[in-house]
Symmetry: C2
Subunit: 447 residues, 2 copies
């Protein structure tokens, strides 16, 4: 059934107060589908929808919504019912949700929740958001190495009824230090009377609690894990990061890369209001506006050259544009490459050398082409000025697109500053200086 | 132990021919670590390394390497030993590997392999690479709905010894049609004598075999699945796509988005040779070169205006640049948004309307700012020409960055054509036409 039909049916059930039929329908849906249905439903039906929905489904629903709608749901539920639902939400999602709530309300929710849940989630909220601690959940199953497989399976079973995401059992010693891991598959194959210590894997790969979320994601991707354990500085097991959260990290990091490259400002999506989107985009644009005026003042200083040979201007957009384009291409290779490659001296020098050669090759090809065109359109002297300028600006543009982001990240600045538009605007300046510099030097042949 | 120490130890074992010690060391490593070790090892040790390595580990190693090194390994192993290893590789990875091999060799490998494996992998290779069929594996476990949980667990166990990635059992009817799904967790909780049909989930979400890999990835991400079943047009179960492959899809799609945005050409990474990188980048640059010359010819037609008021040129880089920048920002929002949002009429119209308002807001803010600057630098008439032009070009630039990629994807063209550099270059033309158009109209006030 598609969302439209489902929405119509839902509205009928809600209007006719057919609670049982409604709940039977919901029973068959995945959390994502319930969230789609909620989003598709006109707002006036939301209250009744929530009042008909069983607690566990509301918890699922909240975890699928984005933060604006999450807050709407909480507000419609009221603090008391909300806190009951928070008790059964997955702790990592709950921590994210609570971090969006204003401080006053937060205290109310936390005190209405069950004490243990409340304590656990506050602990999770204390870790920085983009680290292993910030994305981990504490819903994992631990066992001791003297358990038999049969004991472990029993413990696993009792947890499986409450939590969805358990794929591994973690083995800890008397100090809660992580010493091994066993997968459900290992247990299936093993004999019930075997000891865990004999079947467990000892060289556990774990993420330190302060590890950047991108590195945690890489770890899971490289080893094809379903979850990775998170430990503190004493190797004490604190939680796990699961593969579904890691997919979200990859999507988030890719979005951030694109925001960098396009200087489009953080967190603008299809639903961002126009005013907010403008506000987030304007700082960059205003900075680029001033850099653009700088290009203009360079032209001002070549006014003399320009007045004598107005035709020089005809090639200006092409030269400035091409320099920006090759810079953007190099920038993309660098930004994307820094995600998957090490940022060591040797790699970086090799890359700069490669891009230098690329600059020369594309400079010569494009320069030769434009020499021909400019010669036909204006004169041989023009062809030489334009062709030589293009070779020089393409080499410099390529190098600027390569080195500026590398230097920024090396000196510890956010390489986000090196966006495509910034590189383009800076390359404008380089290209104008070179082009009009060469033209001024060869002025006698042009007029 | 880090890779350096491990490499030194490995070289010692290989030199001293300590096969047992070597294999014990390998035993403790994950496939990714074995691949890292292989990459770190000088090439002269590769042959011996492979001859010491057990078959199963070579299969793991091959699956972790990129295609150049995979082919090197096959060549070092020889066809006979390679085909033995192919027999135990995961079928989806094997299909990818074989698709890199020249046709002559391919036939040799396929005939040296076990007949059933060979047939299976040839079937997998027949699906287009970026579809559900192209990324699926056929290593899944199917059961019938009249099985008891106990029967199912037995079947699950017998498969678990051979394959790593089984999380669900798929229920099929007598025509091999997919009718249900059961997770290992459901089986753990259920009683051994229950029937599968009583505990299975009926509304199975499955991917059609020709579904684009990006949609399959979205499906797994939305539903937090570990695997999704792939079916043909008759709902016959053909294979499964697992979550680890989906992570690779997300990484690949993000890289493609960035390649689009920057027009940087496909498959350029840190290791691409300069000549190849240039060759891949040049087609775009040459196209953009001609569009850039078009801008120049527009200036040519305004030669009269330019000769009278050379100062008009001072603001040209800023206006052209700003129009390109706002276009790139909009483009990034659209390209990224089309990944996670539906591309329906309502969403698209809402987005265009939003971006129109954004264009107006940033147009007015930047236009007012530049009016002040131009008035102070030149004259009020100049301020008006430059300010009004900027308002108009920012609105048009924003709309171009929004609508061009949408239109391209709507008419079924590859929206890859709407890169940042292309939008920038097209916006150059718009901005020049508007700016010099307004200036020419108001010429009497400027001179």
């Amino acid at each position: 059934m598609d969302t439209n039909k489902l929405t119509v049916l839902t509205i009928r059930y809600l209007k006719e107060a057919q609670k049982t039929a409604f709940q039977e329908m919901i029973e068959e849906l995945h959390p994502y589908d319930i969230a789609e249905l909620y989003r598709a439903l006109p707002e006036k039906h939301h209250y009744k929808f929530l009042s008909f929905l069983p607690k566990a489904n509301i918890a699922d629903l909240i975890m699928e919504l984005d933060s604006d709608m999450q807050l709407e749901v909480l507000q419609k539920l009221g603090i008391e019912r909300s806190s009951k639902i928070m008790d059964i939400m997955e702790n990592d999602d709950l921590a994210d949700l609570l971090s969006e709530i204003s401080e006053d309300n937060l205290a109310e929710y936390l005190s209405a929740m069950e004490q243990e849940e409340s304590r656990t989630v506050q602990q999770l909220m204390s870790y920085p958001p983009e680290t292993a601690g910030g994305i981990m959940t504490n819903e994992f199953v631990w066992i001791r190495d003297y358990y038999t497989v049969r004991d472990a399976v029993e413990k696993f079973k009792s947890f499986a009824e409450f939590t969805r995401n358990i794929y591994y059992l973690y083995v800890i010693d008397e100090n809660k230090k992580l010493v091994g891991v066993v997968s459900y598959r290992d247990m299936l194959i093993a004999d019930g009377s075997e000891m865990i210590r004999d079947i467990m894997f000892n060289r556990v790969i774990s993420a330190p609690i302060d590890m950047d979320q991108e590195e945690v994601a890489q770890m899971i991707e490289r080893y094809d894990f379903l979850a990775v354990p998170v430990v503190d500085e004493n190797n004490v097991l604190k939680g796990i990061v699961t593969v579904d959260d890691v997919i979200d990290v990859f999507i988030e990091e890719a979005r951030e890369d694109i925001e960098k490259l396009s200087a489009s400002g953080k967190d603008i999506d299809f639903n961002t209001p126009a005013f907010v989107a403008s506000y987030r985009r304007l700082p960059w644009l205003i900075l680029l506006l001033f850099i653009g005026l700088l290009s203009g003042s360079i032209l001002d200083s070549f006014e003399n050259t320009l007045e004598q040979v107005v035709a020089l201007i005809f090639f200006m957009p092409m030269i400035a544009g091409m320099t920006g384009n090759t810079g953007t291409q190099s920038l993309a290779v660098v930004v994307r490459g820094l995600v998957t490659n090490d940022n060591d001296r040797k790699t970086v020098l090799k890359l700069i050398w490669r891009e230098f050669k690329v600059g020369i090759i594309i400079g010569i090809v494009c320069g030769a082409l434009v020499f021909l065109i400019a010669t036909l359109w204006q004169s041989v002297a023009f062809g030489i000025v334009v062709g030589v300028s293009l070779v020089a600006t393409l080499i410099i543009g390529t190098m600027a697109g390569t080195t500026i982001p590398i230097i920024l990240s090396r000196v510890g600045l956010d390489p986000a500053v090196a966006s495509g538009p910034l590189i383009t605007t800076i390359n404008d300046i380089f290209s104008l200086l070179i082009y009009f510099g060469i033209a001024t030097a060869l002025m006698q042949f042009l007029i």
